[in-house]
């Protein structure tokens, strides 16, 4: 009888493909890449704006192409996925007890969506309220 514990190797790169829950997690983490790239493009737009009207018009034209639009749509899908998963977990991170009773998770998640809607409308109005 000897002790010789065996360590089962884990794939450092492929581990997340083994379980749907890990794939969902990696998808959530991946959203950061797309949103990060989108922010860089926005900054490039601001930079072009500071260069004058011609530079900005050129930026708008390049962002309007098939590649730009496809990227924007993918980023929006990822951003919605990120927002959804983030709001879903808020009751875990911020449990609320009012009057000695725990507030149901659905209410906390709902309040986040309501806040999201209010901020979105406020921003839209701030930007001129145009469609």
């Amino acid at each position: 009888m000897s002790r010789r514990p065996y360590i089962r190797e884990l794939s450092r790169t492929g581990w997340w493909l083994k379980q749907p829950r890990y794939v969902r997690y990696m998808a959530r983490e991946m959203t950061a890449l797309f949103i990060g790239l989108y922010v860089l493009i926005l900054m490039a737009g601001l930079f072009a704006l500071s260069k004058g009207e011609a530079a900005y018009a050129e930026f708008l034209e390049s962002a309007d192409g098939l590649v730009g639009l496809t990227f924007a749509v993918i980023t929006m899908i990822f951003a919605i996925y990120h927002t959804f998963t983030w709001f879903q977990v808020t009751p875990k991170a911020m449990p609320l007890v009012i009057g000695g009773k725990r507030v149901p998770g659905a209410i906390i998640v709902g309040a986040h969506w309501a806040g999201f809607a209010v901020v979105s409308v406020a921003l839209w109005l701030l930007a001129g309220g145009q469609t």
């Binding site: 009888m1 514990p5 065996y6 884990l10 581990w15 829950r21 997690y25 977990v89 991170a93």
Partner: protein, 247 residues
Amino acid sequence: MSGRTVELEVLRYDPDQDDAPKFQTYTVPYREDWVVLDAINYVKDELDRTLSYRWSCHMAVCGSCGMLINGEPSLSCHTFLRDCPDKIRIEPLQNFPVERDLVVVMDDFIDKLGSVKPYVVAKEEKDVDEGEYLQTPAELAQYKQYTACINCLLCYSACPQYALNDSFVGPAALALAHRYNLDSRDIGRSAREEVVASNPGIWECSFVGACSEVCPKAVDPAAAIQQTKIASTADYFMKFLMPWKHK
């Protein structure tokens, strides 16, 4: 008796003979009211007494019989054969060294659990004669959920952060630290911070949430860790806002 059977593919490892684990298949009778542990006990009693595994209570209380059942960290006493396919793959909990067959080495967890002081650190020690440390039902409700942990290690087995970096203190130990931090009779929070609020503590967690999904007792360790992160972040900023409170 129906005559129906199920196949158990069990990962076997004998440190005296094997260089690596290998699967061995057993055919066991199917019973409507059997859990996977019953099927494994049948193997041990009737087919192969060399099979090693841990179990005790058979009712999801002792936390001993955790294993991977078709890749999912599960208590074998809590998983019915009727909810499984006819071929069931049984492996030791992943992310732990395999001692023998389905028995894993859990020393790492035991050390980490001890490091978070999982007990009430009272303001003043009282003699037993002086009576209990009293608490209201509302104070109990603050942490009761986290007392349900049975140290079964399913959460460690499900956690990819622990899999990739075993210095991570891990879900159950952090959830138990949170349990005592929330206890009105306890003043040990600052003593636990060194481990809990460190990088290998709560900050190694990236909120995969797998720990809470596999927890058989609805402890929700992921929630405990996120709440600890918020409390720890608040501490950090309060140090600047109210330095006199943190001398």
